[in-house]
């Protein structure tokens, strides 16, 4: 057992390099689609190309962006993190309760991050040592954290003190502070995936966890890093969401689960794990946010927006995969 190419360290490296190649093919397909779509909106929708609207797209995409960075880690590692739909509102209401209770903003932020990391740690424990399928494990914690969020908020809308919403206040060039935070987080996760041992191990575990384990990688530890970070990012997204609207509820950001999965897949990640990355994820989030923004400005009714969003998702991914297939044939 265990010494052939399928299980050795060389196998891990080839998984990483294939992952990076495949990812860029799909990402470039989606990028082309994004450029075409943006040009269409630019030409057809008055006001779409304004600076204010660009700020608007960035602001409204921020919460999903932060969640998607964590989701990307989970999907690349071969799993899922459905619990983000519960952790986002939990982070938001805990932050609101702490700051409304008089705690300082930095301290509240640290505690919120700890809550998110703890949920992620529990996910990792369930998926690693207990061997529960990530879909089921995080579905369970989604329900639990969502319920706790409602309990913490007591079902009501908690308004934030204006100073607690500082992340959502406009700063340089009308961009809110959290926009810069999101950029920083994107760079951090990108560097983590591309240039650190942990990043490469995440790809390796996602490509073949059994092979990774036999190659000496401590899979449980990698999963703890993945889900811990995903939980922390989701709870931070809750703070961003609460800062945006200066309020927190038990269901704020609860829809981010599926949107984040969609964005990560749009960005070239495979649900089987081992592929994906930050540039693609950012592109996926921006694509979904731009479609929603363009349709809102065009005043497309909500029911049709839902249909168009689904179609765009399928078309963009299909376009990317098609491009990848042609490239492979050549």
């Amino acid at each position: 057992m265990g010494t052939g190419p399928a299980t050795g360290p060389g196998r891990g490296l080839s998984v990483v390099s294939r992952a990076l190649r495949g990812r860029s093919a799909v990402t470039s397909g989606v990028l082309v689609f994004y450029v075409v779509l943006s040009t269409f909106f630019w030409l057809q929708v008055p006001g779409f190309g304004s600076y204010n609207n660009a700020v608007n797209i960035i602001s409204t995409a921020s919460v999903v962006m932060v969640v998607s960075l964590g989701q990307a880690l989970a999907i690349i590692s071969g799993g899922f993190d459905l619990s983000v739909g519960g952790v986002v509102p939990l982070g938001a209401v805990v932050f609101a309760q702490l700051t409304n209770g008089g705690m300082s903003i930095p301290m509240s932020l640290v505690l919120v991050l700890l809550v998110g990391t703890a949920v992620g740690g529990i996910n990792a424990l369930l998926i690693g040592p207990f061997g529960i399928n990530p879909l089921i494990a995080t579905l369970g914690t989604l329900s639990i954290t969502g319920g706790i969020a409602f309990t913490v908020a007591n079902g009501v809308t908690l308004q934030l003190r204006p100073e607690a919403g500082i992340l959502g206040d406009p700063t340089v060039a009308q961009l809110p502070y959290f926009a810069f935070l999101v950029v920083g987080l994107g760079v951090f996760v990108h560097l983590l995936l591309r240039y650190t041992v942990l990043g490469r191990r995440i790809y390796t575990v996602g490509g073949n966890s059994e092979a990774a384990r036999l190659a000496g990688i401590r899979v449980g530890l990698v999963l703890f890093g993945v889900y811990g970070l995903s939980g922390a990012l989701a709870s931070l997204a809750g703070v961003v969401a609460a800062s945006q609207v200066l309020a927190a509820t038990g269901d704020i950001g609860a829809t981010t689960t599926l949107v984040s999965v969609a964005a990560v897949v749009l960005g070239g990640a495979a649900l089987t794990g081992g592929t994906g990355g930050v540039p693609g994820t950012v592109l996926g989030v921006l694509l979904l946010a731009t479609v929603a923004n363009g349709m809102n400005i065009m005043r497309v009714p909500a029911f049709y927006q839902q249909i168009v969003t689904g179609a765009v998702l399928l078309f963009a991914v299909g376009f990317g995969r098609l491009q990848e297939t042609f490239r492979d044939r050549r």
Binding site: M1, P46, G47, S50, N52, N53, N56, S59, T60, V63, P129, F130, G131, I132, F150, A153, N154, G155, V156, T157, Q159, G168, P170, P176, A241, Q244, V245, L246, A247, T249, G250, D251, I252, G253, A292, N293, N296, I297, R299, V300, P301, A302, F303, Y304
Partner: protein, 396 residues
């Protein structure tokens, strides 16, 4: 090989243990959930005659299926209903419909099995109440539907049309004072497209009414504003805000891109949460001083907003979380064969900056009284129940 197998064996034991624990937990939860989620009674025999009501037939037990227990307003509604029942010597058992049609059907059957004197149903889904009707009809137990009608049951609600008219009058006056009209103002109504016309009539009717009162506005009938309508007229927009502060923030931020900066904006939403998101979007766009807005529900945030936020100028208040006292009185009336009107309405008022302290104790968000009952609801006073609580003007 051992190194490979050990974690698997350990995992298998862990999984089996997990299954045993989970099954045990499920059995425990099932056993608990088979009982009503709340059940309180002030006195042991629960005879309401001994508690001094004017009714003839005793009402000892009311079963109340609440829409859900995950939103604060519904939790408060149910808790207060139990408290008011307690004070009247009536046990109120709460069932949670969990915003789900099939749970409501299951609860309807459980309520019938429990043989209460009156069933009070808050359906979670509009226009899908046929099955509830057949269950209640077969049981022969008198029933009251809340917020969404159920055929065969007496109906209790607030009048969205009345609020729409009152709110339009409120805005029309304020707009006139500021010199705002159709030439310089855009009216934005915020709907929840998935909630159906019973709820959204609140804002569509508002547009119809305000367009009649404000010069220069294009008149459109409420029935012509469908969930798919986004541009009502050159002076009116409709956006879907889904009864959520964050959805409202996003949708309104984007709608603002299409409204020229020199135009004033008037906003009326189906909930107070929507107004919280809208307000934030207005502030971030630097347009709060050219905006007026009103919400629906008079929750604590709305009361604070009316006092502190210059742009928050109205709120439609049907005292939703206090409906329990009217439902106790209505249950007694229905049990005693009272002829109920097509809709029994709660007391209603449009809160403004001027009258907010008349209904909510100054400096607090606690209601201190409600306006008189509308004419069609006056029969509730004959039960003598409302006088016990002393909350309604003219019935203390």
């Amino acid at each position: 090989m051992r190194a490979v197998r050990r974690p698997r064996l350990w995992g298998a034991y862990a999984q089996r243990a997990g299954v045993v624990v989970a099954v045990g937990a499920m059995l425990a939860v099932t056993a608990c959930s088979a009982q009503p989620s709340d059940s309180k009674s002030a006195d042991g025999n629960g005879d309401n005659k001994s508690s001094g009501t004017n009714s003839d037939a005793p009402v000892r037990k009311i079963a109340f299926a609440v829409n859900n227990q995950s939103a604060g307003q519904f939790v408060e509604l149910a808790e207060r209903f139990v408290e008011y029942g307690e004070k009247a010597g009536i046990t109120v058992d709460i069932y949670n419909n969990d915003s789900n049609g099939s749970t409501a059907i299951s609860n309807a059957q459980l309520m019938v099995q429990a043989k209460p004197d009156v069933i009070v149903e808050f359906p979670p889904v509009a226009d899908a109440t046929g099955r509830l009707t057949s269950i209640f009809k077969a049981s022969g137990i008198p029933c009251i539907a809340v917020n969404i009608p159920v055929e065969g049951c007496a109906f209790f609600n607030q009048s969205q049309e009345t609020f729409a008219k009152l709110q339009a009058e409120n805005f029309a006056k304020l707009m006139k004072d500021r010199g705002w009209d159709g030439t310089n103002t855009t009216v934005v109504i915020e709907q929840g497209s998935k909630l159906g016309p019973t709820v959204n009539i609140a804002v569509t009717k508002f547009y119809e009414e305000i367009a009649k009162l404000v010069p220069g506005m294009t008149q459109v009938k409420a029935e012509d504003i469908t969930p798919q309508t986004t541009v009502i007229s050159p002076t009116g927009l409709q956006i879907d805000t889904g009864v959520s502060a964050s959805v409202s923030y996003t949708a309104f931020s984007q709608a603002l891109q299409t409204i020229p900066k020199d135009r004033n904006v008037v906003v009326y939403a189906i909930s107070d949460d929507d107004i919280i998101g809208t307000d934030r979007a207005l502030v971030q766009a630097g347009r709060q001083d050219k905006a007026m807005m009103a919400g629906f529900g008079c929750d604590a945030n709305a009361v604070k907003g009316l006092r502190d936020n210059p742009a928050w100028v109205g709120d439609s208040c049907g005292f939703f979380t206090y409906w329990g006292e009217f439902l106790v009185a209505m249950s007694v009336a229905v049990k005693n064969g009272a002829q109920t009107p097509p809709t029994t309405f709660s007391p209603m008022v449009v809160l403004t900056k001027d009258n907010v302290d008349d209904y909510f104790a100054p400096g607090t968000t606690v209601p201190k009284g409600m306006p008189p009952l509308p004419d069609e609801s006056k029969y509730l006073g004959d039960t003598g129940i409302l006088q016990k609580f002393g909350n309604v003007e003219g019935l203390s």
